[in-house]
Amino acid sequence: MPRDEIPPGTLYMLILRMLERYGELHGFEIAKAIEQISRDILQVEEGSLYPALQRMLVKGWVKARWGTTAENRRARYYRLTPVGKKQLAVELEQFERVMGAVARVIQPA
């Protein structure tokens, strides 16, 4: 099954959305969640998730704490902050606006 790279600039939005939906997740869970929900179409370039999460931490969109997984391994769990929630709304709106425009452009007349 062919997999598509996620469109550039949407990584933050996807991460924020996943955290909004599932609450606290660690990095691998975020990557898995994106793949599953997109029915394996969208593929996160796995490593790039982590620098992105660092950037989001600095911007205050997410908060992190260390916890343990079901298999009893240490993992860093991320969750959304109010600022992140607002950011998600902004990104979604922007995304829909752009996609709507693109859709209108390519629509058969």
């Binding site: 990557a31 796995e46 490593g47």
Partner: protein, 935 residues
């Protein structure tokens, strides 16, 4: 909201910055490992062998190291972190060598402090705006180079008569307001009407009704003067300075609306200015009161300037309407001026006086220069202009010397660290990084020095202000550094840090690692490797020499002017300045008053003689009068517009001030209003007007030839200085106080009348003149409790006052010169000891080969003396050229004064010898065995 988010982000970044890098890396590594493991499990579960699954997971994940760096870059500021690292490294290095650090920081603190102190003054005098509304809209009509009262044409107009001001105000619509005010504050005696306190002395200034509106000054209490207060027949009102109100009236709000007696004249105080407002001019004696301009005729009923159209005594500052072009307005007002002059001078009022008409024909040469009025009236600045420029230059030189010193120290250090640097380079350190580290170290030293320098600057400025304004009631400059001054200090600091850090940084990065490591750290240093150090040394010596010469010239000049023959004696003498108000003292009462004054003064125990006159020596007063001489058809003026000075004096005047009578007799008690009119002239008057003949018995007069026979010359006295002590002597004639002539010209009549009023009293006493202050004060108060006593000073104090500025400039230059000498010596010592340390083996070998101690010492000395000699060779022509710029500050000294130059050479050479001798002796005590063994 946006800002708060940004601040939060900044905070998180800073927190990350201070968290350790190791922990960050560990944590990121751990979560990424978890990811890869979980992915590998997943792949393994799909049936792939474990090892292969690991690889696949790794491939999908990407380059861990790169990702970690990326995360790191995202989380903090990489550059900031590097800087923080460099700073930590630099601080560690500085802590390791406290000797170097303390020397460098102190040196720089002195240099930066010296510069910041002078800049504080320059900032206050030149750059600071008046504390008024939108100061940039204010423009001054004229450059205010002259002040006081002037008659006749100025060429470049700064002073205006009231009629001329009115004309300009009414014809220049580009100004939303154009104000006029007295160019110099005036002395007044003020007492509360009905109060018991005797009158006290204050300064006041007449201002037009729109003055406060023009500046946009709102009252602190009460109200300010308005145009309604400044009309013919409106009763006089005054606004009091906040400072005066709080310091002399205890901030008593009840004085607002109260009537005060100004020179005995009732004036209502209507309000208080805001605390920040000090008037239109930054000066040590700002006005205590501003009085409505139309009241001027009441203050001097006999000789009011107000209606005089050809007496110029007002400055004018206006507020331009938005969008008005100053250059166009300047052309406009100049046109108006010429128009007004033509109407008044050429076309009319000088009926028939061909001489005056011909002189005023040329109105085309008259103009007005519009100057920015942002900082107020400029004249006080001219006084300090040359001195400040000199001090700024001097302090910049000191700073350069300091920089050279530190550059030398850093150079020596970085040369010593060359092996370490070489190893780091060899191990792959980037050259840029090494340069940045050395630069950072330099900047650190600079910042430490700058911080300390600010403190020195604050203390220094306070000391300078105390010295410069020591006889003033008010210091108009705040020594505390303003934001601009802080900015200046920071800029200087960073600049110096870069200047003295750059050379060592460059050298540090240039070394070829292989070469350096082979040579074992350059221990067998060659002369060539000392080249940068020595060039800096040459520069230091050059600058230092220039400074020493400047100090020498100024000191010599000050001694010359302070210890010159003034033409009067100072021991056992004191003078008082008083102001006789004309309303209370009509001319008819003067004779009686003078008699009582003389009686009362001679009754004071210990007084040898007493006198009174228009002016005392060196008190800055004087008036010029055109003279005519009987038997000389045309009498030349002294220069373009200069005429001799007139001074009316009482009997015993010359003996009281100690001016010798050269020939004939002085003015004495027999010279009354009704006796033969006589004059006494001074030597330079005699030489100028009677070059080949005996003046005694000849006649002279004031004004035109018909008055040439008025006064018979009965005596010649020695020249004495009445004005600026550094100016040439001014031909002067002396007349008895009450002898007067009849003039057909009313202006001249008025002029003569005003010369009958004394402004000065002199006493010659036994014992210390300081002790007579109180008895003189009470004697005068007894005569008239309303009398305005402006000041009582001994002659010595009066002379000293003339040199306040020169003493200040000379002292500071001297201080800076001394500083430079010390800095240069330290630099020399540093270079000499460093070169000895580097040449240890060479010296050891030489000694082993039989060189004696004396030879070693002379070898080291010779090496140091070469840059000294070179520095002096460069310094002499530079000093000669530079001295030309300070000629305006020199009196009685040639710029090429050989003594000053020789002393400077000797001082530098001596210091250099001492500084180099210590390391030279150390070199001579090297044990050859030991020196060679360490190789």
């Amino acid at each position: 909201m946006k800002t708060i988010e940004k601040l939060g982000e900044l905070g998180r970044r800073l927190r990350l910055l201070f968290r350790s890098r190791d922990r960050f890396d560990r944590e990121m590594e751990e979560e990424m490992r978890l990811h890869r493991d979980l992915r590998a499990h997943e792949i393994q579960d799909a049936g792939v062998p474990a090892e292969e699954a690991q690889y696949a997971a790794q491939r999908r994940f990407g380059n861990t190291l790169r990702l970690r760096e990326e995360g790191h870059a995202a989380s903090g500021w990489i550059w900031l972190e590097r800087i923080a690292h460099d700073v930590r490294y630099g601080l560690r290095r500085l802590r390791r060598s406290p000797g170097f650090t303390i020397t460098a920081v102190l040196t720089l603190a002195l240099g930066i402090g010296a510069n910041t102190a002078i800049f504080t003054l320059i900032h206050a005098l030149y750059l600071k705006s008046l504390p008024v509304t939108r100061p940039s809209e204010l423009w001054s009509l004229g450059d205010d180079q002259v002040g006081g009262t002037m008659g006749g044409l100025q060429g470049n107009f700064s002073l205006y008569s009231y009629p001329l001001y009115e004309y300009l105000r009414d014809h220049t619509p580009e100004f939303s307001d154009l104000a006029a005010f007295q160019s110099r504050p005036m002395d007044v005696s003020v007492r509360r009407a009905g109060g018991e306190r005797p009158a006290e002395h204050y300064f006041s200034e007449f201002v037009s009704g729109n003055y406060f509106r023009t500046f946009g000054v709102q009252p602190f209490a009460g109200r300010t003067i308005t145009e309604a207060d400044d009309r013919a027949n409106s009763s006089p009102v005054a606004v009091i300075n906040y400072r005066t109100w709080s310091s002399r009236f205890g901030a008593d709000p009840s004085i607002i609306g109260e009537t005060f007696l100004f020179q005995g004249l009732p004036v209502t105080v209507i309000g208080v200015t805001p605390p920040a407002f000090f008037g239109d001019t930054l000066r040590p004696d700002p006005p205590d009161f501003w009085i409505s301009l139309h009241a001027e005729p009441l203050f001097s009923p006999g000789n009011s300037l107000f209606k005089q159209w050809n007496e110029y005594w007002l400055y004018s500052i206006g507020r331009l309407k938005p969008g008005a072009d100053p250059a166009q307005v300047q052309a406009h007002v100049t046109g108006e001026l010429r128009q007004w002059l033509t109407e008044n001078y050429v076309a009319g009022r000088f009926n028939g006086d061909a001489y005056i008409a011909s002189r005023y024909q040329d109105t085309a040469a008259q103009h007005i220069k519009m100057m920015p009025g942002r900082a107020g009236v400029a004249w006080e600045r001219y006084n300090y202009h040359d001195g400040l420029i000199l001090l700024m230059t001097v302090s910049a030189l000191v700073l350069l010397i300091a920089c050279a010193n530190i550059a030398n120290l850093l150079l020596a250090r970085s040369t010593a660290d060359r092996v370490q640097t070489a190893i780091r380079l060899a191990l792959g350190a980037a050259r840029a990084r090494i340069i940045r580290q050395v630069l950072t170290e330099g900047l650190l030293v600079a910042l430490l020095g700058g911080a300390f320098g600010l403190w020195i600057a604050f203390q220094g400025t306070r000391a300078i202000l105390r010295l410069g304004f020591y006889a003033s009631t008010y210091i108009p400059i705040d020594a505390r550094p303003s934001l601009t001054v802080l900015g200046f200090a920071l800029a200087v600091t960073v600049l110096t840090g870069i200047i003295f850090g750059a050379a060592p940084a460059w050298i540090a990065s240039r070394g070829n690692p292989a070469d350096l490591m082979r040579s074992g750290g350059g221990r067998t240093g060659t002369e060539r490797s000392l080249l940068p150090l020595k060039s800096l040394l040459v520069l230091q010596v050059t600058f230092c020499f220039v400074l020493l010469v400047g100090t020498g010239l100024l000191t010599k000049s000050l001694r010359h002017s302070e210890y010159q023959q003034f033409g009067f004696q100072t021991q056992g003498r004191l003078m008082a300045r008083i102001d006789l108000p004309q309303p209370q003292y009509p001319p008819a009462r003067l004779e009686d008053f003078y008699r009582r004054l003389e009686q009362r003064l001679t009754q004071v125990p210990g007084v040898i003689s007493a006198s009174y006159s228009n002016y005392s020596p060196l008190d800055g007063g004087g008036s010029e009068e055109p003279v005519s001489i009987k038997g000389q058809a045309t009498v030349p003026s002294l220069g373009e517009t200069k005429w001799p000075a007139e001074n009316r004096v009482s009997a015993h005047y010359f003996e009281t001030i100690g001016t010798r009578i050269l020939r004939g007799r002085p003015i004495d008690e027999h010279d009354t209003a009704r006796s033969q009119h006589v004059a006494v002239i001074d030597e330079s008057f005699a030489r100028f007007y009677f070059p080949d003949e005996d003046p005694i018995g000849r006649h002279m007069g004031i004004q035109t030839a018909e008055h040439a026979g008025d006064y018979e010359i009965v005596g010649i006295v020695e020249n004495a200085k009445y004005f600026d002590p550094t100016l040439d002597r001014y031909p002067t004639f002396f007349l008895p106080l009450l002898q007067e002539e009849h003039y057909s010209d009313t202006a001249e009549e008025l002029e003569q009348k005003s010369t009958k009023y004394i402004e000065s009293i002199q006493l010659r006493v036994t014992g210390r003149p300081e002790d007579f202050r109180d008895s003189l004060h009470s004697a005068l108060n007894e005569l008239d409790p309303n009398l305005d006593i402006e000041s009582i000073r001994t002659f010595d104090e009066q002379v000293g006052l003339q040199f306040t500025r020169d003493r200040l400039v000379t002292k500071l230059t001297g201080l800076y010169g001394f500083l430079a000498l010390i800095l240069a010596s330290i630099g020399l010592y540093g270079v000499a000891s460093y070169s000895v340390a580097r040449r240890k083996n060479e010296i050891g070998i030489r000694m082993a080969l039989g060189a004696g101690r004396a030879r070693v010492i002379s070898m080291v000395l010779r090496a140091v003396m070469k840059p000294i000699a070179l520095g002096l060779t460069l310094g002499i022509p530079i000093a000669l050229a530079g001295a030309r710029f300070v000629t305006s500050l020199l009196y009685g000294v040639k710029t090429y004064d050989p003594l000053v130059f020789s002393v400077a050479v000797a001082a530098l050479t001596l210091c250099a010898a001492v500084a180099a001798f210590i390391p030279a002796r150390r070199a001579a005590s090297i044990d050859p065995n030991q020196a060679l063994r360490t190789e």
